[in-house]
């Protein structure tokens, strides 16, 4: 196994084994009648996922699209603002304060406001998802760009590096691990933002599927939806983690960040 994949294997195996163990316990509890009827067991969930696959794909498709577009928009805007803050230093405090205020508004309260402003279409759900994603990315990129190692900074100064050289060779590489941290936090949040947007009123989506299942007392479908959404969040996180591993030098991933 190559050095590139061994750490990944090491990080994936223990949680996978833990999840399998928990699933076995869960199935046992359901079969023994120890759980309320509103809880479906893993085998029921798998059966429902197979039997309902066409319906689930119909709902999963817009959720995937909204999550992706919202994530790209939110992260893109956050990175752009972060770069502006790097160039215009005095913006750091006002921008971070405004972002903190915006992120402290509960998503459930934000959704109806956006609905009135942008309508019930996909735009509203994409913007809601983008707002949810932007904060962690913004905070981490700003921190990564601003907090460069002192020794390196002094070296660049003594070598009379230009502003562009400082940015390209010092600030940007230093910011990447921070940025990926923010992107990884934002990935599952994007799924959550999309679901909340769909709960506010949508034609299709996993959020709509969940509501319909919940109000029809269909525990098997509800748990299938929960499973899909959880897997989607984990995959989104894993996808970014994989890109991070392929982008950043291994020594930076092993704890050299910001030293």
């Amino acid at each position: 196994m190559s050095d590139l994949w061994r750490p990944l294997f090491r990080s994936v195996t223990p949680p996978t084994l833990l999840l399998i163990g928990l699933a076995l316990l869960w199935e046992g509890a359901v079969r023994a009648g120890l759980t309320p009827p509103s809880i479906a067991g893993p085998t029921t969930i798998v059966d429902t996922l197979v039997a309902d696959r066409t319906t689930i794909w119909h709902h999963l498709e817009p959720t995937l699209l909204t999550t992706s577009l919202g994530y790209l928009l939110g992260s893109g805007v956050a990175v752009a603002i972060g770069l502006c803050v790097y160039v215009i230093r005095w913006l750091e405090q006002p921008v971070l304060t405004a972002a903190t205020v915006l992120s402290s508004i509960p998503m459930l309260a934000l959704a109806p406001v956006l609905l009135i402003w942008l309508g019930v279409g996909m735009t509203m759900r994409v913007v809601l998802t983008a707002i949810v994603c932007a904060f962690p990315v913004l905070v981490t990129i700003v921190q990564g760009l601003m907090v460069v190692p002192r020794e390196a900074s002094e070296l660049f100064q003594s070598l009379a590096a230009s502003d562009m050289q400082r940015f390209r060779l010092l600030a940007l590489p230093n910011a990447l691990p921070f940025l990926f941290l923010g992107l990884k936090i934002a990935a599952p949040l994007a799924v959550l933002g999309t679901l909340i947007g769909e709960w506010t009123g949508a034609e299709q989506g996993m959020g709509v599927y969940m509501i319909a299942a919940m109000f029809s007392l269909q525990a098997d479908r509800l748990w299938s939806a929960v499973t899909i959404v959880s897997v989607l969040s984990a995959l989104a996180y894993g996808y970014i983690a994989l890109i991070e591993r392929l982008t950043i030098a291994p020594e930076l991933l092993d704890g050299e960040v910001g030293r």
């Binding site: 190559s2 319906t55 995937l64 609905l115 019930v120 709509v208 319909a212 392929l246």
Partner: protein
């Protein structure tokens, strides 16, 4: 020399692999998003092309698409909207959709409300007016287990009842009238989700009987239904609302829409089971339970074709239900001091009268 070459080759091979893997991951992601976007755009273009040259009506539904809005979908299915030269689009609602504000803000032309909540909207300054009513008698009710039924407000004493806050305000008036201490009933502000009743966490919960009863029965739970109208709170449900200025500026548009809906509801009532089958196949969410929808469709007749609708046809609207709701609001103390509101400002009968009066309206 050979070993030096090998040492040089290894990192470069690894680097090449890394680049290929990264490009594959990023390329796959971009391709996936592009494919999903293309499918979504294609659907939008097809919808827009088919609606060219027609007057637009946007209607925010009060819940997920299903037979609860059967008249709307049957009007679409039978071509009544096309006959009226209307392009009607329906948006599904959800548990957190603010229907009245969406109409007030101009996002939608039409939505739904009952009389009581329309009064609350007016207090908030929303210039809304009701111009037709789908449910002549509200199916709003408390569902309790048939084995331990709640048959009256007095039966709620000592029990845990799930009820939204907006309904609780009205219940408190009834409790005052019947001299029931509110402290003796444990009200919990839950949504209209039946699972808490089935799992025994609450003794009754508030919902539309038309949606709750089929769901509960099909899961083997026999409910007892206590209608709010039988408790002394008669009201319309799914009264169609719009901004007053929009109704006054283009009454013809609303008359045409109401006329098509009247015909749609009559088609629905003529054969509820057949209508349910069409709605599940073409309009409802994929995966909607047809058995549930058929039971619900059959129940609707007792709410759509009752009262004034028997004499005037479906969707009739009149002042008495609004007068009752206004009395409740006054008794509950929800009207701010000095706030003036009269029944005439809450509804207009002119639209439904004009829609129902044409000779071809009622077959």
């Amino acid at each position: 020399m050979a070993s030096a070459d090998l040492g040089h080759d290894l990192p470069s091979r690894r680097e090449a692999l890394r680049r290929v893997a990264l490009a594959g991951l990023l390329g796959g992601g971009v391709a996936g998003v592009a494919a999903l976007s293309a499918r979504a755009l294609d659907r939008n273009w097809r919808d827009e092309a088919s609606n060219a040259g027609l007057a637009s009506v946007t209607h925010q539904l009060g819940w997920l698409k299903g037979v609860q809005f059967g008249g709307c979908f049957m009007a679409q299915e039978k071509g009544y909207f096309a006959r009226e030269r209307l392009a009607v689009s329906y948006a599904a609602g959800g548990p957190t959709t603010d229907y009245r504000t969406l109409v007030s803000s101009g996002r939608f032309l039409v939505s739904e409300s009952d009389a009581s909540e329309l009064i609350y909207a007016r207090i908030q300054g929303q210039p809304l007016v009701a111009f037709a009513a789908v449910f002549q008698r509200s199916p709003a009710a408390f569902m309790s287990p048939a084995a331990r039924p709640i048959r009256s407000l007095r039966d709620m004493v000592g029990r845990t009842i799930g009820v939204p806050n907006v309904v609780l305000a009205r219940l408190q008036i009834l409790m005052r009238r019947q001299r029931i201490d509110p402290e003796t009933i444990n009200f919990v502000p839950v949504g209209t989700d039946a699972s808490m009743l089935v799992s025994g966490q609450i003794d009754a919960y508030y919902s539309f009987a038309t949606t709750a009863v089929p769901t509960l029965r099909l899961r083997g739970f026999e409910p007892h239904v206590l209608y709010l109208s039988d408790m002394g709170m008669p009201d319309y449900a799914q009264a169609l609302i719009a901004r007053r200025d929009q109704v006054e500026n283009d009454p013809d548009l609303f008359v045409r829409y109401t006329r098509a809906l009247i015909d749609g509801w009559q088609a629905m009532m003529a054969d509820p089971a057949q209508a349910a089958a069409v709605i599940v196949e073409k309009y409802a969410l994929p995966g909607t339970d047809i058995r549930e929808q058929v039971i619900q469709a059959r129940m609707l007749r007792d709410f759509v074709l009752v009262g004034d609708a028997l004499d005037h046809g479906p969707l009739w609207i009149a002042a008495p239900q609004f007068e009752t709701a206004l009395r409740f609001a006054r008794d509950a103390g929800v009207l701010p001091e000095g706030f003036k509101i009269d029944v005439e400002s809450l509804l207009t009968q002119s639209i439904v009268k004009a829609a129902a009066s044409r000779p071809e309206a009622v077959a």
